[in-house]
């Protein structure tokens, strides 16, 4: 009996660990479908230990990179400065014209009050590590459950959407980037309101799949979140159409999207801390009129999100 057990130990161990891994994957898949998970203590503890170490290890590597980039950036900085000064003057002038137009149509006050109501508290976080496997696109940030970060919360920068928090420990959170193969976001073209789904394909570009019939999508179009799916609020910038592809006679077409955010050079991001009934209203794709008289505003003051305000202004104007 002892001999038999000894002989069976290796095959049994192999079957055991394989089954364990498969069960873990299936349960993780279910947790992801429910919007992510807070890690159990034994997993969280490893993340807690590695996140600060990764930050320390990153520091000299980042230092060398930043020194080199600073040097490279200095080349042509004068010309760039002149170009930007001109651009600022143009943008200021355009901004003034838009404000005039809004005041004239009586929308400015409404847009301002709407912003006060729907502003989202945002938590700044630093990216301390990138995904260690080339087949996945995720980052580790230095804010976790202790700071109010929860799985399912969107992560953005001032340029647009970065991704979504998928798992948290006390002081760290794993964020799946838009580029990841598991990522799919409901989106719409800002100009024509054509709707579709943006998927990550594991490379530096995204794919926007939309229904051909009646859809008006051209190169250069800005694509924003639609709020369907309940993760991202409406109007956050996702990227710009760079190429249209024929999907081979199917009902849908594919547009290649350049992400709004340079996801390879992430350093500081903001976690959108969804809280309160106003957030629920904001996240509802089709808000009935009666719900708009809902409870009062959310507390914390966030940095303004230009794309969202822009979309809200468009909505208000319609």
């Amino acid at each position: 009996m002892g001999d038999l057990l000894k002989r069976l130990a290796a095959p049994l161990a192999v079957v055991g660990v394989i089954l364990l891994a498969i069960v873990s994957m299936v349960s993780d898949r279910r947790a992801l479908a429910d919007g992510g998970r807070e890690l159990p203590w034994w997993q969280a503890s490893l993340l807690e230990v590695t996140a600060p170490i990764e930050r320390i290890v990153s520091a000299p590597i980042d230092g060398v990179r930043s020194f080199y980039e600073s040097y490279v950036d200095l080349i042509g900085v004068r010309a760039e400065n002149r170009r930007l000064t001109r651009r600022i003057a143009e943008v200021e002038s355009e901004n003034l014209q838009f404000r005039e137009a809004l005041v004239a149509s009586g929308h400015l006050g409404r847009v301002a009050s709407m912003r006060d109501e729907v502003e989202i508290p945002m938590l700044p976080a630093e990216v301390v590590g990138l995904d260690v496997a080339p087949w996945f696109r995720s980052v580790l940030v230095d804010r976790g459950a202790e700071h109010g970060v929860e799985p399912g919360q969107p992560v953005i920068t001032h340029e647009g959407v970065v991704g979504v928090v998928t798992a948290t420990s006390g002081h760290a959170a794993k964020t799946m980037l838009l580029l990841d193969r598991q990522s799919a976001v409901d989106a719409l073209v800002q100009r024509s309101r054509a709707r579709g789904v943006i998927r990550g394909v594991g490379r530096d570009r995204l794919e926007f799949e939309f229904v051909v019939r009646g859809a008006d999508v051209v190169e250069g179009d800005e694509v924003v979140t639609s709020s369907l799916g309940g993760i991202y609020p409406k109007g956050l910038r996702l990227g710009r159409v760079t190429e249209l592809r024929d999907a081979g006679g199917r009902l849908t077409r594919i547009a290649v999207i350049e992400p709004a955010v340079d996801l390879g050079q992430l350093e500081q991001v903001f976690v959108m801390l969804r809280r309160g009934p106003q957030m629920d209203l904001l996240y509802r794709p089709n808000r009935p009129e009666e719900d708009l008289d809902g409870p009062a505003a959310v507390s914390s003051p966030p940095p303004a999100e230009p794309a969202r305000v822009e979309a809200e202004a468009t909505e208000a104007g319609r």
Binding site: V17, L20, Q43, P134, R181
Partner: protein, 181 residues
């Protein structure tokens, strides 16, 4: 036991280092040091069961720091360990070239298996031919880093293990280096 603990810590250190390095070297060009530790364990570890447990633990650690499903890297690292252990018993993998070929092939298989599993479990797009470029680039850098990582596992075994490096409990697999087991 001591050597297993040290190899595990070395694997975690490799994970942390490659996570930080990935910020400068884009993913396919950053070697998977932690995976190479598992390959080293598969090729050189004397005891099968403790090697299997090590591979599983290192796989789960990788899952924590990666965007994969929990258990995905663990499963693939178990497969890597089994393949390496089997290859070490059936083939002569003592030279740099055979080890390089083995690591190159395993990296390609690992990449395709990862993407296929994602498609199966989360409905991600099925692997297109475009991933071949990423896989080959990653396999190439893994081959370059394989020698030092496998050497490191050997050194840990030499320094901390009582057992002779290269001596393994025979598996009932058939031939072992030209002789019947």
């Amino acid at each position: 036991m001591k050597s297993a603990l040290i190899v595990f810590l070395a694997g975690i250190a490799a994970l942390v280092f490659q996570g930080a390095l990935a910020r400068t070297l884009s993913p396919p060009w950053c070697p998977d040091f932690a995976w190479l530790v598992v390959v080293g364990v598969g090729l050189r570890w004397p005891a099968f069961l403790s090697g299997l447990v090590l591979a599983t633990m290192l796989g789960y650690s990788m899952d924590l720091l990666s965007g994969s499903l929990m258990g995905q890297h663990a499963l693939l690292r178990i497969a890597t360990f089994l393949a390496a252990a089997l290859a070490a018993r059936q083939l002569d993998l003592s030279g740099a070239i055979p080890v390089g070929i083995f690591v190159f092939t395993m990296t390609l298989a690992y990449g395709f298996a990862t993407v296929m599993m994602l498609s199966f479990f989360v409905g991600a797009p099925w692997p297109a031919i475009s991933i071949l470029g990423t896989a080959i680039a990653h396999a190439f850098v893994n081959v370059l880093a394989a020698g030092p990582m496998i050497r490191m596992v050997e050194r840990i075994l030499e320094r901390f293990s009582d057992e002779e490096v290269g001596r393994r409990a025979p598996l009932p697999l058939g031939f072992d280096r030209g002789g019947l087991v």
